[in-house]
Symmetry: C2
Amino acid sequence: MTAKLTEAERAELLPTLDGWKHDAARDGIAKRFTFDDFVGAFGFMTRVALLAEKADHHPEWSNVYNKVDILLTTHDADGLSMRDIELARAIEKLA
Amino acid sequence: MTAKLTEAERAELLPTLDGWKHDAARDGIAKRFTFDDFVGAFGFMTRVALLAEKADHHPEWSNVYNKVDILLTTHDADGLSMRDIELARAIEKLA
């Protein structure tokens, strides 16, 4: 069981993430990434997929042409956990 | 400008597609593909991405772990066109 982040942890960690918004309905964090075209968007997705598989922590995501919407939440924790913060940070390094 | 399918064309073509449902709200066709795990799902997405880029016709799609939801519609036609039917057929050959 992965621990859900406490209020104090959220207050500290969420402002450190660039452009990720808290999704209250899902208790996750979400961000849209926009690229020049489909090749840019899917190339990014491929790199995220490799990170996610390595971390054994997978995004909920969608793609329409040059846009990729990512939502990170932790099913085991029934909400936001440190694993989401870590995956968001790793994704930022790719984007 | 790509032509939207006529009622007669829809009546003929849609029943030939395995498991694709007409999405009336978007005037597109949609199907969920389920795999053993994320690697199976993303591997499939990668193969679809290459087909889509080659056809210059891209899906609207989402992925959650082992599931991939695909919606095909043609923005140029403001609805379902032959390009969607052809891409659906090509995807079926991969799945």
